[in-house]
Symmetry: C2
């Protein structure tokens, strides 16, 4: 995994090595400047993958030979020999547990180790953590929007950046709160529940009921098999009469596809309604097949809409289900699940940032005029402070050497964005957010399962005060620094 880096990291590494600075103790932190999707929070994800990549970090002989061929010819040989010796045995990584809610400017992952190695790890970690966190955050936002009961399914395989991008999307959507993926490989590799029934192409591959083969289905309770195409056709007449739609507008190819699928999966029949006209074809055909199945003791599992105004159509479909349920005295018809797909997900991605914040134990600071953009210097410990209702009300950055804030004690802090003024808070609970996951080249803390991460994400989100997880224009969550860190910041500013 070592060569998954940008070339400038190698040229800089050479600069550091040549200057004898390559083994200076250094720290790097990952955080983001703004919450993605115009929201107020993100979910931490990709930590486990990042840690695994650290464990595998090493330049092979062919890697070194390749680098020798692309770095300037003035590069000294001994540098390449040195590269071949690198590993992560002196690297320590702490992070918030995967699935944690994290706020802008709060470091959620920290890497310590020799400068050269820490710097070489930058791109790999960013690559593995940024996308993962964005996908998980996106999924969490959909979960918040959908409420706890609606089922959410990820179907991004064909739009992803190749197979791996797709697998990551499945994994991190699940962590963020989705229920299913369509991706079989993701199901197999990660144990994520998979889901899926039929596509338009299946429906289009039929043109008439004559093509249905086999044609018979036995009742669930047993007994004589029935000719399902004929039964469905007869139900279609009754449904069209009730709905006052012309039976000839209901495509028989679509009916044939539904019947064929229902015979294959009598307990799992779902209709895709929008291959042709939903109102005059998809919906009557579905109802006909579902009522035929009902007559044999089976229950259809739902319908799917994949184009047009999904909300409006869902309402109309529900109305029809109610009408059919009442008229034909099939109560379960009224609550048939309606699934919708097509362009529901995907908002534009925003970038995560990361700054190299400490070199040689003397904090450094990227200065800009804008306070908002300032990097908080030094190696920090991050605390989350909770109020009496169990809601977190502030994340607090302290210098590593400072003692932990005390529960029930007044605490002087400086909130970012209003650094000039001190304020006081009294936390009822104090949580230290980072855990050390990697030490001496090894993952040193058991990594949670995907399901554990998923649960942690939901708990972490549920603790938030609703004002902070509003999807748009959320109330900014206060992030503060201690008095001591604030003074350090002020000194650094004056010195520059």
């Amino acid at each position: 995994m070592a060569p998954l880096a940008d070339l400038y990291q190698l040229t800089m590494a050479y600069g550091q090595w040549r200057a004898g600075r390559h083994r200076l103790p250094a720290a790097a932190e990952l955080f983001f400047r703004r919450a993605p999707f115009q929201g107020g929070f993100a979910l931490v994800a990709g930590v486990a993958e990042g840690l695994r990549s650290l464990r595998a970090f090493r330049f092979s002989a062919t890697d070194v030979a390749y680098l020798r061929s692309v770095l300037p010819t003035t590069t000294e040989d001994a540098f390449f020999d040195y590269l071949a010796t690198l590993d992560t045995s002196e690297v320590t990584v702490s992070a918030m547990p995967e699935g944690s809610v994290v706020f802008p400017r709060v470091p959620f992952l920290q890497v310590k180790g020799p400068l050269l190695v820490v710097q070489l790890l930058e791109t790999t970690l960013l690559c593995l953590v940024s996308y993962a966190s964005l996908v998980a955050t996106n999924a969490a936002r959909f979960r918040l929007l959908a409420g706890p009961d609606m089922k959410l399914m990820e179907i991004g395989l064909r739009r992803a950046q190749g197979p791996d991008g797709a697998l990551s999307a499945s994994k991190y959507s699940y962590i963020g709160g989705f229920d299913f993926t369509s991706n079989i490989l993701a199901g197999k590799l990660f144990g994520i529940p998979v889901c899926g029934t039929i596509a338009h192409s299946f429906i289009m591959s039929f043109t008439s009921l004559e093509e249905v083969e086999p044609r018979e289905l036995s009742p669930l309770a047993g007994g004589q098999p029935v000719d399902l195409p004929a039964l469905a056709e007869s139900w279609l007449g009754r449904v069209c009469e009730l709905l006052q739609t012309p039976p000839e507008k209901a495509k028989r190819g679509e009916l044939a596809a539904f019947v064929s699928y229902a015979i294959a999966f009598p307990k799992d029949f779902q209709g895709l309604l929008d291959t042709y006209c939903v109102k005059r074809s998809g919906l009557p055909n579905f109802c006909a097949v579902a009522l035929a199945l009902h007559q044999l003791g089976y229950k259809a599992i739902g319908v799917r809409l994949d184009s047009g105004d999904l909300a409006q159509q869902s309402k109309e479909v529900r109305k029809v289900f109610r009408a059919c349920g009442a008229h034909f005295q099939v109560p379960w018809f009224e609550t048939i699940p309606i699934a919708v797909s097509n362009d529901i997900s995907e908002q534009s991605l925003e970038e995560f940032s990361r700054e190299l914040v400490e070199v040689n134990s003397s904090p450094c600071l990227k200065l800009t005029e804008d306070e908002e953009k300032m990097t908080i210097p030094g190696t920090k410990t991050i605390y989350r402070l909770y109020d009496a209702d169990g809601h977190p009300f502030m994340d607090l950055m302290a210098l590593e050497e400072e003692p932990s804030p005390s529960v029930g004690q007044e605490l002087v802090v400086h909130v970012l964005g209003q650094l000039g003024e001190a304020s006081t808070v009294i936390p009822i609970t104090v949580e230290r957010l980072h855990q050390t996951y990697f030490r001496n080249g090894q993952v040193c803390e058991p990594l949670p399962s995907l399901l554990e991460v998923r649960n942690h994400a939901q708990v972490s989100l549920s603790q938030l005060h609703p004002a902070h997880h509003q999807l748009y224009k959320p109330q900014p969550y206060p992030v503060a620094v201690t008095e001591k860190l604030h003074r350090l910041l002020a000194e650094l500013q004056e010195a520059t």
Copy 2:
């Protein structure tokens, strides 16, 4: 690779298998409805990867066991036995050569084979071809914008959907016309030229000239080594005087970083100007180091700007280089390359579409009211017709059994979007666009190298009339069907 599919493709496969339709001859075509990025064309890419995935298509024993665990319990055992026997030995794939220009609605890849296998290949092919084509198209648009001489470099590793997405982006950007990637692994695996120098973090890791170590650099022509920090510091004074900027505003940490990097890579010194103030710090510091290097016989290779108004800043930097070049009599200073980065690429992606167009040799058609959205039925041969100037002026879809259009002969066609009217054209050259790449489970045509694909893309683009490759509001390129295909289309419409 087989299980890289959506679950509904397996449930549909079962439906087909159960109906005895699984071995019907079928054809699927990949095309896109609109050109991405609001343009008029796309580049075909990802074909080689798609073909490789076909070769590897097979359900392993564990794949089958997994599918058994997720498909409905009513699924017959014999279906799973059948899955284990599947391969692509009966599949044929034809496609436009990778790197070809392709227009909306024109199929660029065609898969023929047994219905069930063709349908299972859908997601994998879409996943491998869509993203690749989008990236290549995006790169080609940048190349058109940049002209043939400007160098373009891809630096997307840290923003990609994980390592594989990043590698694909490097590869297909190169195909589309980029010159370099920052991604070392992409360089190593694909032979793409790599590029890169320093990041802000490197500059921020220095605070004063005392930290520079080693300090000496020998002149290029040989002779006594010189203390470069001291020499650069003295040049800084002269530069600041010329530019009328206060020398104390030029950060000495930045100067130290530049000097340190210049000592490491005296023939490859590039300055990153925007860590602090470009005008008062980055630019004077760079000029000082570059002039010091010049005194020793070395030439700096350029500067990079990574924030702010890049165009405006580039102009100002160029002005300063001209002033320094004239004042200090260093002519090459006036033409120092200026590189810019930061949010230059990335417009939102649009989706490629694909339809299953032929089953059992009887063409089928997805009907919508909108002519624009109609799928062109039947297995087709695609021709590109050229005018006397060597510009392609029309892509023509014909039924497979029709003879090739004759050069210099009048031809009756129906242009999509105006299907009602026939028009006549006389092609001066006729090119058959598809080649058969895959047959009997094997790639049957030598696949071009990355560089060959890249060259083909540029040739393909250069043949286009400029009106068709305008980046916005391009003149739509005419896509037509033959008289015979037009009649078939009309019959199908009447029949429904």
